[in-house]
Each structure stands twice: as structure tokens, then as C-alpha cells.
Amino acid sequence: MAQYAILIFDDPTAGDYTAGQLAESKQHAEDIVDSGAMVSAYALAAPETATSLRGDVVTDGPFVDTKEVVAGFCVIEAPDLDAALAVARDNPAVRWGRGGVEVRPVAGSIPPAR
């Protein structure tokens, strides 16, 4: 088994998630847990609450100034990229038209993967 990070990108100018969208996200995460593939998942607070550090400079806001920002991420276990992409494709954020997801292989972790 390998681990993959699924980074969820979102356009915050599209407004808050609706209650329906939040419920869909939660259900999707629970489905991954039930399948046994979930390592961990995190939802992040709004990007305007972020603080970035580069050298001595402290700035308000996300590190990279882009339309879509990371809204959350999860790490899953999957035997190969096709399996990881299948999980990622089911993420509701892919369908909402205000962002999407990026799938990245995990190169290492602490504590180490099982």
C-alpha cells in the first residue's frame, strides 16, 4: 500500500459552503473511513485567517496568492494511483465548479506509515 494526499482546493470568493455541501463532504469522508482507506483528514479555517512567514516577513493571508486555496486535505491509503484517483474523483469538491482536488503521493511521514 502507498499513501496519497488529496488536497482540496476551493475558490473562497464563491461564498461559504452550503449546509448541503458540508453534509456531502462529511459523508464522503465517512465513506473513505468505512472503506478502511482513511489515514487522516482535516478541514482548514478560512484563508483570511492564515498567516504566512517568509524569512523575516510576516504577512496576512495564504502563502501563495491564487484564486483557489487549500481548503482541506486528507491522506488515504491506496494500492496504486488509479485507486487513489478513484477515491479523489468521488470527492464532491470536484463537482462543485468552485475548485477541485490534487492527488500527491506521500513520500514519507512521521510517525511512519504502517
Binding site: 494500492p79 496504486d80 494511483l81 488509479d82 485507486a83 492527488v103 503521493p105 513520500a107
Partner: protein
């Protein structure tokens, strides 16, 4: 060339993909497998000269390459255990590779399909898919791949290395997709073969219009895919499209290398056997129902080719086929090509209005054939000054010398200025 050298060259052209695919199964590392297959071909030169060409060259090469791969893996067991290995799901799970019975190698033809589907995985960039397919499936040296795709050897080497690294690190599986996944995965494979053919058919720049080696490779690949996936109608459609286009290869350029228009080509020199083969594939594809993009494109190419003379072409039927093609593949280029039979069936004025509508499409903003089509319509409408402008516009958009020569000649016909 000696008999052995000829046999090795022949086996390289015909069996490379099979031997490599079978070796990858053991090595589970593309670089190691490639290295071992190259060594096996080199060993064949000496061995076959000494002992004669074996009855089954592919099996000989596979056995030799696999043995070398096993040796290398034993030698470097510790080192290689730290590298990510190719993922081979389902059948073998993750147990260590064992020495497989070599006599089985030529009985598993779909080994090559694994290789093709891995090289054309949608997680790889389109240009990387094409490069990997040429390198791994066709066995072309990196320098030749670079030349075929018009980039420097250094750029190509980096592109291939990066793609191989992604296959290993992201664990792109080495397998043929399940039937349910094929509709998602097959277009990428067919697209690579089609792109390869197009690269050979019309060189985007340089002195000649054709680079026949790339076209031949594409035809060979299409035939292989057809043999491996006989039940996929679009695979047959792609082969038919390449055959119907390639049947006219000899007449597309004149003796001076200049481009010849369809109406000026010598129809008696078209490859009738290729056209007949394409025809059968098209009929089967259309009969299977809901024909896809390639089957319809092939039907269009074949209909152009089947007319006894250019003027006897069934323009109305072509417009109908283009309409069906646009329905499954709404591309502005297809819409532009459709204006050619429209101009013959309904007159150049009707077609010109359609072309002018398409000119507003940003996707065609740099497309050289749009002003070329427009210029031809204006010429037929006896508006030489506007035609000359359009030919100049087309000339500014293409780097292919044969196409430039053709456009310059047309420009001279309509240009009234000194």
C-alpha cells in the same frame, strides 16, 4: 547487412514492445527492463550470427532479457529495494517477482497492452505519453523520438525521465484497464497513435511534408491495437482512418516535394488495398452502431477517396457525415473542414459565411488552414484582392515549406499587385 543483423533489426521493429513488456513484468522497473532488453538485442547479434536465428526470436530475446533482469536484481537487491517498483495489481499482488517460465512469453499478447496503457495513462502529460510510447512501445532511441517530435534531445531525455519517475513514484499501475474503465482510458491511447501519425503525415516545420517513419510506426501500432482489442469499434475506426489517409501518401506531394491538392492528385496511384481494408473496417464500425469520432473521420476520408474523380465526390453525403462527426466531437477544426463539402454542395458563398463565423472562434485564431480555406473560397467567388490578403495571412501562420510553397503559388495566381 549480415543475415543475423537483418534478423535482429527485424525483431527490433516487430518484437520490441512484446519483449520489453514481458521483461517489465519481471524487472518491475522501466529503466532496468529497457537496459536488459537492449543488452538482449546486442547479445542476439553475436549469438544469432554464431548459432543461426532462433525459430522464435521474440522468445529468445525475452528469455535473455528476463535472465539479465533477474541477475541484476539479485546483484542489486539491497539497492533496488529502496526504489519504488512498478505496481502490478490484481494477478500478482506484491509478492516478489519470481523467474517465470519463459516458454509462456509468446502466448500472452496482451503484455504489450499493459505497456501501451501505462505509457498513455491520463495522469501523464499528453506530450509525455507520446514520447514514452515512441521510446518504450516502438523502441526508438531518445534522439529519434526527439527528432520525430521536433524538440532537442536534451529536452526529450528530461521529459522521458520525468514521466518514468512519475510512473514509479505515483505508482501508475502496470495493467490493462478493466472493461468499465476503457471508455475513459482508450481515447488517450488512440489519441497518441493518431498524433504520431499526424506528426509523420504533416511535419509542422522543415523541408518536407512527410516524415514516413513516424507514420509507419503509427500504422503498425494501430494494427497491433486492432489485433489486441478486436472488439473495440474505435480501435478499428482509428486503423481505418490511418489506412484511408495513408492510401494517398504517394500522391500528396508532387515530384518537386510541393503539396498537391486533392483534386490534382493522381487517383490511379492511390493504394486500393489499403482503401479496401479501411472500407471493411468502416462498414463494421458503422454497423456496430453509435460510431465514434475515428470511425466517422475514417468514413469521411474514405468517401473522399472512393469517388472516381474529384467532381464526382458525394458532397452531400460528406456534409451529413461531418454533421454526425460534429455531434460526437464538437471541434472548431471539424466545423472548418465541413465548409469544404458545403462549398461544393451549396456554393462558396454559403461556405464563406460559415468560415467567417468560425474566424471569431479564439481556438482557431492561429490555425493556418482557416485563412487558407477562406482564400480559396474568395478566389472561387472571383474576389482576388481579398483572396490575396487571406493567402498572405495563411502564409504567415505555417512553417512547413511544402505548404508555404503551395500557398505562395496560389497567392501568385490571384495577386494582381506587382
Amino acid at each position: 547487412m549480415t543475415d543475423a543483423a537483418r534478423a535482429v533489426a527485424d525483431a527490433h521493429r516487430r518484437e520490441w514492445a512484446l519483449v520489453l513488456a514481458a521483461t517489465v513484468r519481471v524487472a518491475r522497473d522501466l529503466d532496468l527492463a529497457e537496459e536488459c532488453v537492449q543488452e538482449a538485442y546486442a547479445a542476439a547479434l553475436t549469438a544469432w550470427a554464431r548459432d543461426g536465428t532462433p525459430a522464435n526470436p521474440a522468445a529468445w530475446l525475452t528469455t535473455t532479457a528476463r535472465r539479465r533482469a533477474m541477475d541484476a536484481m539479485r546483484r542489486e537487491a539491497t539497492f533496488r529495494s529502496r526504489l519504488p517498483l512498478l505496481v502490478e495489481p490484481a494477478e500478482t499482488g506484491y509478492e516478489p517477482a519470481t523467474d517465470p517460465p519463459p516458454e509462456q512469453t509468446d502466448a500472452v499478447p496482451d503484455e504489450r497492452l499493459r505497456l501501451v496503457f501505462t505509457c498513455c495513462h491520463p495522469a501523464l502529460a499528453p506530450e509525455a505519453r507520446l514520447a514514452l510510447t515512441l521510446r518504450l512501445v516502438c523502441g526508438l532511441p531518445t534522439a529519434d523520438v526527439a527528432r520525430a517530435l521536433l524538440v532537442s534531445e536534451q529536452t526529450m531525455a528530461a521529459r522521458i525521465t520525468r514521466a518514468k519517475k512519475k510512473i514509479a513514484t505515483a505508482r501508475i499501475p502496470y495493467r490493462v484497464p478493466r472493461p468499465a474503465e476503457l471508455p475513459d482510458r482508450l481515447p488517450a491511447v488512440l489519441g497518441v497513435v493518431h498524433l504520431l501519425y499526424t506528426a509523420g503525415h504533416t511535419a509542422p516545420s522543415g523541408p518536407t511534408l512527410l516524415r514516413t517513419d513516424a507514420a509507419d510506426r503509427a500504422l503498425h501500432l494501430a494494427r497491433t491495437l486492432r489485433a489486441l482489442m478486436p472488439d473495440e469499434p474505435e480501435v478499428g475506426g482509428l486503423l481505418a482512418l490511418l489506412l484511408a489517409t495513408d492510401a494517398r501518401r504517394a500522391t500528396r506531394t508532387g515530384p518537386d516535394g510541393g503539396l498537391l491538392r486533392l483534386e490534382d492528385q493522381d487517383r490511379s496511384r492511390w493504394d486500393r488495398a489499403a482503401l479496401a481494408e479501411a472500407h471493411e473496417l468502416i462498414v463494421a464500425g458503422l454497423r456496430a452502431g453509435r460510431p465514434g469520432r475515428y470511425t466517422l473521420q475514417a468514413a469521411i476520408a474514405a468517401l473522399y477517396a472512393e469517388a472516381p474523380t474529384y467532381d464526382e465526390t458525394d458532397w452531400q453525403q460528406l456534409v451529413t457525415l461531418y454533421d454526425r462527426l460534429l455531434a460526437v466531437w464538437p471541434s472548431p477544426v471539424v466545423a472548418l473542414n465541413r465548409t469544404v463539402p458545403v462549398s461544393m454542395a451549396s456554393g462558396p458563398a454559403v461556405a464563406l459565411a460559415l468560415v467567417d463565423e468560425l474566424a471569431a472562434d479564439p481556438r482557431l485564431a492561429r490555425y493556418p488552414y482557416l485563412p487558407a480555406v477562406r482564400a480559396d473560397l474568395l478566389r472561387r467567388l472571383d474576389r482576388p484582392a481579398e483572396a490575396a490578403l487571406a493567402y498572405r495571412d495563411a502564409l504567415a501562420r505555417t512553417d512547413n515549406d511544402a505548404e508555404r510553397g503551395f500557398l505562395a503559388a496560389r497567392l501568385a495566381e490571384v495577386d494582381i499587385e506587382p
